[in-house]
């Protein structure tokens, strides 16, 4: 009978705090390396994108003042989803040069890989709420709190996907291309450019099964309409988040111990 046991002295979880901070800081610095304006661009990007989209959509959709905000929220949230899941999927491969240097949990590089997308989303959210407040459409404090909660759940969904995809990608090297096709198709599944109401009600459940859909719709609802989705809808969102995160963590746990052999 084959027996395997490996025990290492525990060095304390606190030692990873510096690593987490350094990974976030250096990823941020690398992204804006060599760009005109450097890291200031990171701050300006969400603001300028917001203003450009607002100006264009105000002109194109002048007769539908609500639609431009629906579109902007949908576009930004979906961009967060695309960018963070792509970074998460590639994370172990991209940071393999660190993972083979010393023993530390690879989930740290997976979860921190979304940091740039999180920063952009946080800045966009500040710009959006400020703009709504300045134009007399300030969301309620409860609406802002719920919006923050939805983004936290969105991050948990992304983290769950990334945990699974990062280890599976080491085995299936074309998974990033498959995921790219899925997210491009998913852009049209999520009701970003069209209102969900134009589709028959019987297909709504399928649209809600695509994780960005409830996040986008709930976010619009609390920020723009001042309506809180039902408790049952929240329960479903929590359940979906828990299932995705839990499944991702289980797949990661099963494959992570041997994933570095694939590097």
């Amino acid at each position: 009978m084959v027996s395997v046991a490996t025990t290492h002295v525990q060095q304390g979880q606190g030692r990873f705090a510096g690593l987490v901070w350094t990974l976030i800081r250096t990823d941020f610095k690398t992204r804006y390396h060599g760009t005109l304006g450097g890291f200031v661009w990171a701050l300006l990007k969400p603001l300028t994108m917001f203003l450009v989209l607002l100006a264009v959509f105000s002109y194109v959709f002048a007769s539908e003042p609500q639609y431009k905000f629906d579109l902007i929220i949908g576009l930004f949230l979906y961009e967060f989803f695309q960018e963070s899941t792509k970074a998460g999927l590639l994370s172990i491969r991209a940071k393999g040069y660190l993972l083979t240097k010393a023993k530390f949990p690879s989930w740290i590089v997976v979860v921190t890989s979304a940091s740039n997308a999180v920063i952009t989303l946080a800045l966009f959210s500040c710009v959006l709420v400020t703009f709504l407040a300045l134009t007399g459409r300030a969301p309620t404090p409860l609406g802002v709190a719920l919006y923050a909660l939805y983004q936290a759940l969105f991050f948990a969904i992304v983290a769950g996907f990334s945990l699974a995809a990062s280890v599976l990608f080491m085995r299936y090297r074309d998974l990033n291309q498959v995921w790219e096709v899925i997210t491009h198709a998913g852009f049209f599944i999520a009701p970003i450019i069209y209102p969900i109401g134009i589709l028959p009600e019987r297909v709504h459940a399928y649209l809600y099964a695509w994780p960005p859909t409830p996040i986008i719709l709930f976010s619009r609802s609390v920020l723009l309409d001042g309506r809180t989705p039902s408790a049952f809808a929240h329960l479903l969102l929590f359940a979906v988040t828990a299932i995705i995160f839990g499944s991702g963590a289980l797949i990661y746990r099963a494959r992570a111990p041997r994933v570095l052999e694939e590097l």
Binding site: V2, S3, V4, A5, T6, T7, H8, V9, Q11, R15, G18, L19, W21, T22, L23, R25, T26, K29, T30, H33, G34, G96, Y97, L98, L99, T100, K101, A102, K103, F104, R171, Y172, R173, D174, L175, V178, P257, R258, L260, E261
Partner: protein, 256 residues
Amino acid sequence: MRPSVIEVSGVSKGFTIPSVRRETVREHALDLFRRRPQERLSVLESVSFELRRGESLGLMGRNGSGKSTLLKIVSGIYPADAGQVRVHAAITPILELGVGWNPDLDAIDNIELLGTVMGMTLRELRAATREILEFAELEKFAHLELRHYSSGMAARLAYAVAFRAVRDVLILDEIFAVGDAGFKERCQARYRDLHRGGHSMLLVSHEPRTIAAFCDRALLLESGRIIFAGSADAVADRYLALLTEEPPDMARPAAR
């Protein structure tokens, strides 16, 4: 007798041969309809040894004998297929240090990245940055991005960080193979200081003189098995004798 800091007992390890590995969704889908052979390459077979506190243990063997795989298993980077590894102290491995920097970051940022991976706190690293750069003789290039470094400069920086990050046990793969004579001398002096200070060392080298000079005892690995263990001098002599013999299996790929 001094207590053990690393106990390796009956460790075996193998890898799937890359030429028959399926690596894409497409290949897996196609293989639903046709079977492909799954061949395993045995890299380590029932390896056992222990490292005692304050001891410097050498590990010798030809290319492909399983040395690097064994170091990665002991460091916790690879899991063993069978056997037991017990580590009772914090390990600092110095493995594959010539490669793996972020080329868009300067030396100071890369020092923080590698140092935190090796378990140093940011406070420790910031206090030690000057010393690390001095050790690597790279003070003038502290703010230069790594893409502009030569491979020798990058390796010197890596060794300087790793030597500063040592906790209890130091695991080194082909140390003293980097830099000019002055840098090698500093590495050797640092190694001796750490050994005198009570640190335990596991040192891999192809160089018999290095093993004889820096190790208390040594192991000789061949085809994934320990074929000889004894004093560092005796193992160095046996290794030299082994080099003149015909390898048992010339087709054996290099261990990862």
